[in-house]
Amino acid sequence: MLDDHERRIDHIARELKREERVSSSFDVRVMRAVRDLPRHARLTLWSRLTTPRRITVTPLSWGLLAASLLVFAVAGTRAVLVEESTNPSKPITTALFAAPAKKQTPQAVQFVLVAPDAKKVAVVGDFNGWDPKHASYQAQHRGGGVWSVTASVPVGHHRYSFVVDDSLWVADPIAPRAVDNDFGVTNSTLVVQAAQE
């Protein structure tokens, strides 16, 4: 049993223990600062020989840009492909890439996230305007902390992420990373191929 003094302190501490969040641009600022520092050099022979250099571009003006594009912005980032997780009972994919004129219907893609403590999981990406409230992309809890949703994704190259409890953005753990320097975030990449006919 806490005595009165201890109870007071406990009350104070509880208030101070409330979660705090940094501002949304914090990660970007930190990574920008970190990238300016000398890269660590515990490298394999290959990396030592082939470390990519960073080039920055400053757009002159929007009008001139189209005419003068030669340089491009890059940093040691990773943009990556993942093959879509497939519903085992209905395999999707693999077809040879059809000629552009061919009609390509959206494909069903299953997204899975293991998040035992989540109350809500949504899929967001360039196929649904990055909208965490989009009705067709709300995952269902299947038990055991497994959340999934099978949704329609157009054929092509996409970026996506999971949003947990409307607040925490999580890249798909099994998908390769697509680091985005513009926002200093990490997304996942997905290439959906047309179904074989």
Partner: protein, 181 residues
């Protein structure tokens, strides 16, 4: 990569994968923002100290002896950064700014109630001597044991206990008009 342990990520960074460091930033920035905020009293200073801590951690990552305990190592760097920043600010003269965002967030839950209480606490905290505030936060907000606090701060356990005790006394004094819930 996100599910990987700190040691795995540290190793990647040391091999030249700068971007992997982001995972560590994302993992710990909110957790340690809290300490910096209460220690320094305003969000701007807190984020400066936190950002500083991360860049220093990156810079001296190869000197992190136990990458599995990266979090504790990072926290020690942050505690030091807060001391330095706090001292610098102290020399400029005491300014205490109540964090508007925290206030707003606090007052949303219990309008008029919580906001005022939170403000009282923050104000009282800032009136503590820095070393007492530090000890109090480490003990009661970060829930560290005295041995761990001693390792973190370089101060002996009995001195720490004394600081915590004095902090509690002073806080109770300052906050005596406020009724406990």
């Amino acid at each position: 990569m996100e599910g990987s342990s700190d040691a795995v990520i540290v190793d990647r960074v040391l091999r030249g994968d700068v971007e992997a460091f982001r995972v560590l930033v994302e993992r710990y920035r909110d957790r340690y923002a809290r300490y910096a905020l209460h220690m320094l009293g305003n969000r701007e200073d807190a984020e400066e100290a936190l950002q500083d801590a991360f860049t220093r951690a990156y810079r001296s990552l190869d000197r992190c002896e136990d990458p599995e305990r990266f979090a504790a190592w990072l926290f020690r760097i942050l505690v030091n950064r807060c001391r330095t920043l706090g001292a610098r600010r102290g020399r400029r003269g005491r300014t205490f700014v109540v964090d508007d965002v925290a206030l707003m967030a606090a007052s949303v839950e219990h309008p008029s109630d919580r906001g005022a209480w939170r403000e009282e606490i923050e104000r009282a905290l800032q009136q503590l001597r820095p070393e007492q505030r530090e000890a109090f936060l480490l003990k009661y907000v970060e829930d560290l044991g005295y041995d761990e606090m001693s390792r973190l701060t370089g101060v002996g356990v009995s001195a720490l206990k004394m600081r915590v005790m004095r902090a509690c006394d002073r806080l109770r004094e300052l906050l005596s008009e406020v009724h406990s819930a």
